[in-house]
C-alpha cells in the first residue's frame, strides 16, 4: 500500500509538471498546447548534445536544456500563436500539432531507433516503503507541489506577474491598464517551455533512455489530469496528476491485466469516465436538485 503510494507519487510528480504547464498556457493565453510534451523531449536532446558532444557536466546540460525549452516556447508564441490571435482555438491547437510533428520528426532523424542515454548524477537513492527513491524523483514532486500551490503567490509579488494573472481573467482590460499583453503571452509560453524541459529532465533518469516522443508519453497523463480538472486551477491540476499517478500504480499492483502498455488503457478509461461524469453531471444534478443556473457569461439586453 505504501509502495503503491510512493510509486504513484513518483510518476505523478512528472505528470503534474506537465499539467501545470498546460494549465498555465491555457489560462494565460487561451491555447491548449499539444506540443507541451515534445518541447521537453527536444530540450532533453539539447542536454544530451551538451553533455555528450561537448563534455559538460549534467547540471550545465540541464540548464542549457531549460533555456532551450524557454526559447522554443517563446519562439513558437512569437512566430505562430501571435499571428493567430483572431483565429478560433481549434486552429491554434492544430498549429501546436504541427509543432509536435516537427519536433518528433527531428527527434526521429537524430535519435533513430537506438535511443540515446544521458549520463546523470542521480545514482544513489534511499528506500521508502520498500521502494528505492532517487533525488530527482523527489525533486519532481517537490517542484510540482511548490509551483502548483505557490506559483500564484509568486506571481502576485511582481507587477508583471500580477499582469499574467489578470490576463487570464480579462485580456482586454489588461491592455487598458497599460500592461503589454504581447509580452505577457511571450512570458507565459516561455514559462510553459521551461516546465516542459524540467519535467523531461527529471523523468529521464528513471527511464534511462531517450527515444523520439519520449516526453509525450508522460505528457498525455498530465494533459488528461489537467483537462479532467477543467483546466481551471493549478492546485487542482497538480492534485489530479498525483492522483492519476497513484491510480496507475494501484492498477499495476492490484488489477494487472498483463497487457502491454496497460497504463494507456487505464488512461483512456479514466478520461472517458471522467468526461462522462462531467457530461452527465448537470443532468443528474438537475434531476435531483432542480434546473441549472444560467452561465453569467453572456448577458446582453
Amino acid at each position: 500500500m505504501g509502495q503503491v503510494l510512493v510509486l504513484g507519487l513518483i510518476a505523478g510528480g512528472i505528470y503534474a509538471l506537465f499539467a501545470i504547464g498546460i494549465v498555465l498556457v491555457h489560462r494565460g493565453t487561451g491555447v491548449l498546447n499539444f506540443a507541451q510534451g515534445e518541447i521537453g523531449t527536444a530540450a532533453l536532446l539539447v542536454a544530451y548534445v551538451v553533455v555528450h558532444d561537448l563534455g559538460a557536466p549534467w547540471l550545465v546540460g540541464a540548464l542549457v536544456a531549460v533555456v532551450a525549452a524557454v526559447l522554443l516556447g517563446a519562439g513558437f508564441e512569437f512566430a505562430v500563436v501571435r499571428r493567430m490571435i483572431s483565429s478560433d482555438p481549434v486552429s491554434t491547437a492544430v498549429a501546436t500539432v504541427g509543432l509536435t510533428l516537427t519536433l518528433v520528426s527531428i527527434e526521429i532523424i537524430y535519435v533513430g531507433d537506438s535511443g540515446k542515454v544521458l549520463d546523470n548524477p542521480f545514482d544513489s537513492g534511499f528506500t521508502v516503503a520498500g521502494v528505492v527513491v532517487f533525488p530527482h524523483q523527489v525533486l519532481a514532486v517537490l517542484v510540482a507541489l511548490a509551483l502548483g500551490f505557490g506559483l500564484q503567490r509568486l506571481l502576485r509579488r511582481t507587477d508583471f506577474g500580477l499582469g499574467i494573472l489578470a490576463a487570464a481573467q480579462d485580456p482586454d482590460a489588461v491592455r487598458l491598464v497599460g500592461v503589454p499583453l504581447s509580452r505577457v503571452s511571450l512570458a507565459v509560453w516561455g514559462l510553459g517551455g521551461a516546465l516542459s524541459g524540467t519535467a523531461a529532465l527529471l523523468a529521464e533518469p528513471t527511464v534511462g533512455l531517450i527515444t523520439p516522443g519520449f516526453a509525450s508519453e508522460f505528457f498525455v497523463f498530465g494533459l488528461a489530469a489537467a483537462v479532467i480538472g477543467g483546466l481551471g486551477s493549478l492546485p487542482g491540476a497538480v492534485a489530479g496528476a498525483l492522483a492519476l499517478g497513484v491510480l496507475e500504480a494501484a492498477e499495476q499492483a492490484y488489477l494487472p491485466l498483463d497487457v502491454p502498455g496497460e497504463r494507456y488503457l487505464l488512461l483512456l478509461a479514466v478520461v472517458l469516465v471522467a468526461l462522462l461524469g462531467r457530461a452527465l453531471g448537470p443532468e443528474l444534478r438537475s434531476r435531483f436538485l432542480g434546473p441549472a443556473r444560467p452561465a453569467a457569461a453572456e448577458v446582453t439586453a
Binding site: L32, F34, A79, V80, R83, M84, S86, S87, D88, P89, V90, S91, A93, V94, A95, V97, G98, L99, T100, L101, T102, L103, V104, S105, I106, I108, I109, G213, S216, E217, V220, L223, A224, V227, V259, P260, G261, E262, Y264, L265, L267, L268, V271, L272, V273, L275, L276, R278, A279, P291, A292, R293, P294, A295, A296, V299, T300, A301
Partner: protein, 623 residues
C-alpha cells in the same frame, strides 16, 4: 467562432448524373492493371500507391470530421489500425477466413463502433475534449492494444491475405491497387452524398456555431457523434486497404505521428475540399520516396519535418489551408471584376408555404388560447436580477413588440422562452402547453422560430444552404438513405429545395442564392434570417432587434415583411425592437421592460407616451 475570411461564392453543387461514378469506377479498375502489364507501373510503386490510397481514404475520414463538423481528432490513425487488424481477424487464414468484402465491412463497422464508444462522452461537451480523448485512443492503440498477441499477432504481425475472386487471388500490387482505388471512389461518393444531405448541412451548421445550429432544430451532440462515428468507419475501411496491401500489419505501423500527419494532410489539402485532401494524402505518402530519389538516403525522415513546418505555416496564414488560400486568390480576382449584385428595387410578396409532409405535425392552437405565454419568469445571474417576474402574452395572429433600454432583460427573457437558458422560476407556455422543461431544439420543432440578436446564420454557408439547413427538422430521412443518395432523401431534398426557392423568390434574393451569408450587408443578413425562420412555417416568429443596422428603406421593407407574415401567412410575431416608428407601424400590442421588470403593456401609441416608459429610456433625472 470561426474565421473571418469567406469565399465570394459557394460553388453550386452540380448534381453529377449517375453515370459519372460509373465512369470513375471503370477508369480506376482498369488503369493500374493495364499500366502494370505495359511495364509502366512497377510493383514497388504500385504498393506505394496502395498505401497512398489508404491514406487518402483516412484523409477523407478526417476531412469529414474536421472540415465539415469542425471537430479535431489526433488519433485517426488508430482507427485505421483498428480496421487493419479487424480485417486480418476476419479474413485471416488462421482466423475466420471470410471473404475480403466482409472483412472490409467489418473493418468499417469496428472503426465506427470504437469511434462511437469513445466519442459518446466527449462530444456532449464543447471544446477540445475530443482531441484529448483521441490522443488517448492513439496511445492506447499503438502502445497497448495493437501489441496484444491475439489482436496484433505479436512481433510477427497480423497477416492480412489478399482478396480472392473465385479461385484466384488479386495477388499483384497493381491489381490490388485497382481494388483500393475502387474503394476510394465509392467512399468519396458516399461522402459527397452525405454532405449534400441534411446531415452534411447539420455538420456545417454545428461547426459554424453550435447555438445557431441548435436554433435550427439540430441536435448538436448527436450530430457531432454521427460525424465522429462515420469518420471512424471510413478510417476503418482505410485500414482494410492498408492491411491488405502490406500483407502483414504490426502495431508499430500505427504510430502517434501518423495521426498527426493525417491532420497535416487535411489542413494543407484544405479543410472541406476532397480533391485537396486526396491530393495532399498522395503527396505526403509519396514525398519520402521522391525526396530520397532526389537527395539520397541522408534525407530520410526530413519529409515529416517538412510536413510539420508546412502545417504550422499554412494554418497560421490561412485556417482553411491551401484550398482556402487558392479560393481567396480566385475571389480577389472575381472581386476586382465587380462585387456582389445589388438588391432588386421591388420585392414580390411572400409565398404561403404549406407544411412539409415529413415535418412533425404543427399543433393547431385552440381558439382563445394564446400562442405564447410567459408567467412570472425570473432569471438571476450571480448578483444581478436580469429578469424579474416578467409576464407576457402573445395572441394568435398578432404582432407583439417588446421594448426597453439596454440591460432591461429583453434578450434574456427571449432566451428563457426559447429554452436557451433555464429560468430560476416561472413558466413558459406555448400553444397552451407547458414547455418549460423542453430543450431549445424541441421547442423549435414545435413551431417556435427565432432570429438572434447577432445574426443567427451559418456565415460560411450560402443563402440557399441556410434556407435548406433551416428545414432540418422537417426532412425526416435517415443516414442510410443520405449515404446512398436514394429513396426518401432524394424526395425530401427536392421538397426542401422547392420551398427554399419559393422563399428566396419571395424575398427577392435570387441573385444572392450562392453568396455566403457572411458577405451580405447586415440588413440583408437580417432578411435572410427572417427567411430562414419562415421557411419552416413556424407558428410563432420571434425576432430579436431585426432592424438593427438597417437603413430606413430596409427597415420599411422589414415592416412590410412583418405585416405580410401576419396578414398573408397568418402567423404570430414577437419582436424586440428599438426602432420606435417600426414598432408603432406594425405592432398590435407593446410591452416595455426596464431593469428586468415589465413596466408597461398595451396599445403601442399609448404605451410609448407613458412617463415611466420615457423615463426608462432617457434615464432618471437625479437631482
Amino acid at each position: 467562432m470561426t474565421t473571418t475570411t469567406l469565399p465570394l461564392r459557394v460553388p453550386r453543387r452540380v448534381s453529377l448524373p449517375v453515370p459519372g461514378i460509373v465512369v470513375w469506377l471503370a477508369l480506376v479498375a482498369v488503369l493500374p492493371p493495364v499500366l502494370s502489364r505495359a511495364g509502366l507501373l512497377s510493383d514497388v510503386n504500385a504498393l506505394r500507391l496502395c498505401a497512398a490510397t489508404a491514406f487518402a481514404v483516412a484523409g477523407l475520414s478526417l476531412n469529414l470530421l474536421m472540415g465539415y463538423a469542425g471537430q479535431i481528432s489526433l488519433g485517426q490513425y488508430a482507427f485505421v489500425g483498428v480496421g487493419a487488424f479487424t480485417t486480418g481477424l476476419v479474413t485471416g487464414v488462421n482466423d475466420l477466413r471470410l471473404p475480403w468484402l466482409v472483412g472490409l465491412l467489418a473493418a468499417a463497422a469496428m472503426g465506427g463502433l470504437v469511434a462511437f464508444v469513445v466519442g459518446l462522452p466527449a462530444l456532449r461537451l464543447r471544446g477540445l475534449y475530443l482531441a484529448v480523448v483521441t490522443i488517448g485512443v492513439a496511445y492506447a492503440g499503438y502502445q497497448s492494444l495493437f501489441r496484444v498477441e491475439s489482436i496484433g499477432g505479436g512481433s510477427a504481425g497480423k497477416p492480412v491475405p489478399r482478396p480472392y475472386v473465385g479461385d484466384s487471388a488479386i495477388a499483384t500490387n497493381a491489381d490490388f491497387l485497382a481494388l483500393a482505388l475502387v474503394v476510394l471512389v465509392v467512399v468519396w461518393q458516399l461522402d459527397v452524398n452525405l454532405c449534400r444531405s441534411r446531415f452534411g448541412r447539420a455538420f456545417q451548421a454545428v461547426k459554424a456555431d453550435e447555438g445557431v445550429a441548435s436554433s435550427f432544430g439540430i441536435d448538436v451532440a448527436r450530430t457531432k457523434l454521427l460525424a465522429f462515428t462515420l469518420s471512424g468507419a471510413m478510417a476503418g475501411a482505410a485500414g482494410a486497404i492498408l492491411g491488405t496491401a502490406y500483407g502483414t500489419v504490426t502495431g508499430t505501423v500505427f504510430r502517434y505521428e501518423q495521426s498527426l500527419l493525417l491532420v497535416v494532410v487535411v489542413v494543407i489539402g484544405g479543410l472541406g475540399s476532397r480533391a485537396g485532401v486526396v491530393g495532399a494524402a498522395f503527396f505526403a505518402i509519396l514525398l519520402p520516396s521522391v525526396m530520397i530519389a532526389l537527395f539520397g538516403e541522408g534525407i530520410r525522415g526530413y519529409d515529416l519535418v517538412l510536413n510539420g513546418a508546412l502545417l504550422m505555416y499554412t494554418i497560421s496564414r490561412n485556417p482553411h489551408g491551401l484550398a482556402g488560400a487558392v479560393r481567396e486568390a480566385r475571389d480577389k480576382r472575381l472581386e476586382r471584376k465587380g462585387g456582389l449584385p445589388p438588391l432588386p428595387p421591388t420585392r414580390p410578396s411572400l409565398p404561403a408555404l404549406r407544411p412539409l409532409s415529413g415535418a412533425p405535425p404543427v399543433r393547431k392552437p385552440r381558439a382563445g388560447v394564446p400562442v405564447l405565454e410567459a408567467r412570472d419568469v425570473s432569471v438571476r445571474f450571480g448578483g444581478l436580477q436580469a429578469v424579474d417576474q416578467a409576464s407576457l402574452r402573445v395572441d394568435r395572429g398578432t404582432i407583439v413588440g417588446l421594448m426597453g433600454p439596454n440591460g432591461a432583460g429583453k434578450t434574456t427573457l427571449f432566451n428563457a422562452v426559447t429554452g436557451a437558458l433555464a429560468p430560476d422560476s416561472g413558466q413558459v407556455l406555448f400553444l397552451g402547453e407547458d414547455i418549460s422543461a423542453l430543450p431549445p431544439h424541441v421547442r423549435a420543432a414545435r413551431g417556435m422560430g427565432r432570429t438572434f440578436q447577432l445574426i443567427g446564420l451559418a456565415k460560411q454557408q450560402s443563402v440557399y444552404e441556410n434556407l435548406l439547413t433551416a428545414q432540418h427538422l422537417g426532412a425526416a430521412y435517415g443516414v442510410g438513405s443520405a449515404l446512398l443518395g436514394v429513396g426518401p432523401s432524394r424526395w425530401f431534398e427536392r421538397e426542401l429545395r422547392e420551398r427554399a426557392d419559393q422563399v428566396l423568390e419571395g424575398l427577392g434574393f435570387q441573385r444572392f442564392r450562392d453568396t455566403p451569408v457572411g458577405r451580405l450587408s447586415h440588413g440583408q443578413q437580417r432578411i435572410v434570417e427572417i427567411g430562414c425562420c419562415l421557411v419552416t412555417s413556424p407558428e410563432l416568429v420571434m425576432l430579436d432587434e431585426p432592424s438593427a443596422g438597417m437603413s430606413p428603406a430596409a427597415a420599411e421593407d422589414l415592416a412590410q415583411t412583418l405585416l405580410d407574415v401576419r396578414d398573408r401567412l397568418g402567423r404570430t410575431v414577437l419582436l424586440i425592437e428599438h426602432n420606435v416608428p417600426l414598432v408603432l407601424n406594425t405592432a398590435d400590442e407593446l410591452y416595455v421592460m426596464d431593469t428586468g421588470r415589465v413596466i408597461a403593456d398595451g396599445e403601442p401609441v399609448e404605451v410609448v407616451t407613458r412617463p415611466e416608459v420615457v423615463r426608462a429610456y432617457l434615464g432618471e433625472v437625479v437631482a
